[in-house]
Subunit: 333 residues, 2 copies
């Protein structure tokens, strides 16, 4: 686990999009975000306090989280100066960059000299078991998408937030780097060895109270040929009781695959439910989550109403309309 | 690629089952098996010439293949003496053992000193790409199982052998350690990082002549919760034109999962075909391969006839009845 709370390092992020990991932490776990650290030419601003390393440490920050994508794929010298100073002051550092902290000799040396941790959250740090398929106590919900990057993580986080607000027992279970940085722990599923994927998901979602829900972060799509194996491991390792269908209605083709069309929601429902029931015969599809960011307010409402009528399932954009109806629907499982 | 032909090292195998990797090489690629090397207390015999390291080298052997499972999971001192002598004589060594050759300092030192290769076929040696889903030329056939270990590799090897005998263009494409040792190359799919599984299968089955068939070695099962993600990557990365349903009719439950029942062949057909058509809309299920090893001759014939009537598909045990009817059925695709 990564020690919280964090100081969020935005570095020289050219714009808000480059700092979306930091934005996710601030949006979903504001209690983890003591402040932001920006270099002089930073074009992103989370709207929280700018702090020096010393100020944030004073305010309780334990870990400097790299909340920005780096330019050119390398950790620059300007970043290094801050990172090494942070290690010398007693911070751990966490990063989801492809360029690993552990591949930088000066960072490793500074961490070792100060007894600090470098967390490269893209790299598994646990020897996961092979899945045993044994039924676990507690409930689990998984969003499955018609495509990659259609709002599955957002759906799980929004439901988790709503459930906490209602006093329900819930835990968001991250399976990707952004989710892991948001909460401080999880499984970087796309970096796990094939034989251990489903076991990693079982490990992530252990036995729990009968009325506790794991909101498992989805990955990929059963219909995306590059990543469907990862999704399959979530469907079987996660033993979901409830599936949510996630969709982005304006895609012209599958993400990164110009020759592939998105499946219909009906096809997704039928295939995902058939496979999910192998691990959990009681599984049900309980709702549809639509990413309407490219639609107007009225178009979004109309689209959701049409899908709701077609599918006979509560259909919302959790960002625009809230996740309340999806949480309501969990009670049917 | 592992250099062929081989001298097959049986060591102190207690019985024939312990030497099944060597048996597979001898059965399927006899031209790769120059001879066998047995220690004094070996209980296995492939029925080919016993040779010393020098005799086999004289006969052309390039690689000493460890064709036996080791006792207690460690490479014993008795083995080491033979392996090091082989390296000193100019042999490469190939192994599918969990105990890696590369983890043995004395073997690594002897290989380095002699400029020889140690092949640990459980470990990927290639940086596979992420799958791009682009349609490839040539044809591909994949066996998908109701369970693990139901005869998918055997089916592919038997079809490949029959096709070669008929003068058809075919290549067996191994995805597991035994298959890799049999042919000298392939992808150890269960050891590949999740994000690259489907890409590894694409890499393994590249563009080919329009009338060439890849016979892809299947793994796991879409209905086996421990390994279904690996199977999914084969279905999507392999872009099969033809699927064969593989089944073992006497299993009481899914292998290693006492709480899980095998799916029906109809359920396997429907789910596998739906998913396969995402990557290749022309895909068809062309036959059923039954592993009848626990049935009598008459029971096997009766069972296959019954399945054939139910499924409307050619149904054989390729070991007992030959793979000819499955190969015939490829012409319908």
């Amino acid at each position: 686990m990564i020690k919280t709370p964090y100081l969020l390092f935005l570095g020289d992020a050219p714009d808000a999009l480059a700092a979306k990991v930091a934005q996710g932490i601030k949006d979903w776990r504001p209690e983890n975000a003591v402040g932001q650290f920006r270099l002089p030419d930073c074009g992103a601003d989370l709207g929280i306090a700018d702090m020096t390393l010393a100020q944030a440490q004073e305010a309780g920050a334990k870990t400097l989280v790299i909340g920005v994508a780096n330019r050119g794929g390398v950790i620059s010298q300007a970043w290094k100066e801050v990172l090494i100073e942070a290690l010398n002051m007693g911070y751990d550092i966490a990063s989801g960059l492809h360029n690993l902290l552990h591949d930088e000799a000066d960072l490793v040396a500074a961490a070792d000299a100060n007894g600090r941790q470098l967390h490269d959250v893209r790299i598994p740090s646990v020897d996961y078991p092979i899945a045993n398929g044994v039924k676990r106590s507690g409930k689990r919900c998984l969003a499955v998408g018609t495509d990659c990057s259609v709002g599955k993580m957002y759906t799980a986080l929004a439901m988790d937030k709503e459930m906490r607000a209602r006093g329900m027992k819930s835990t968001f279970r991250p399976t990707g780097q952004t989710g892991i940085l948001i909460t401080g722990g999880g499984v970087p599923l796309d970096a796990v060895i094939a034989d251990f994927m489903a076991g990693a998901v079982e490990w992530l979602t252990p036995d729990n109270d009968a009325d506790h829900w794991d909101l498992i972060e989805g990955q990929g799509s059963l219909f995306h040929v590059s990543y469907s194996g990862v999704t399959m491991a979530l469907v079987h390792g996660g033993q979901p009781d409830a599936l949510i269908l996630s969709h982005e209605p304006t895609r012209k083709h599958m993400r990164g695959l110009p020759d592939y069309q998105q499946p219909s929601l009906q096809a997704l429902r039928d295939t995902a439910l058939t496979l999910a029931r192998v691990a959990n015969p009681a599984c049900e599809v309980i709702g549809v989550s639509v990413n309407t960011q490219h639609l107007s307010d009225q178009e979004a409402l109309d689209y959701c109403a049409r899908v709701e009528a077609e599918m006979g399932l509560p259909t919302v954009d959790p960002f625009r309309h809230g996740a309340g109806r999806l949480v309501d629907a969990l009670s049917s499982v």
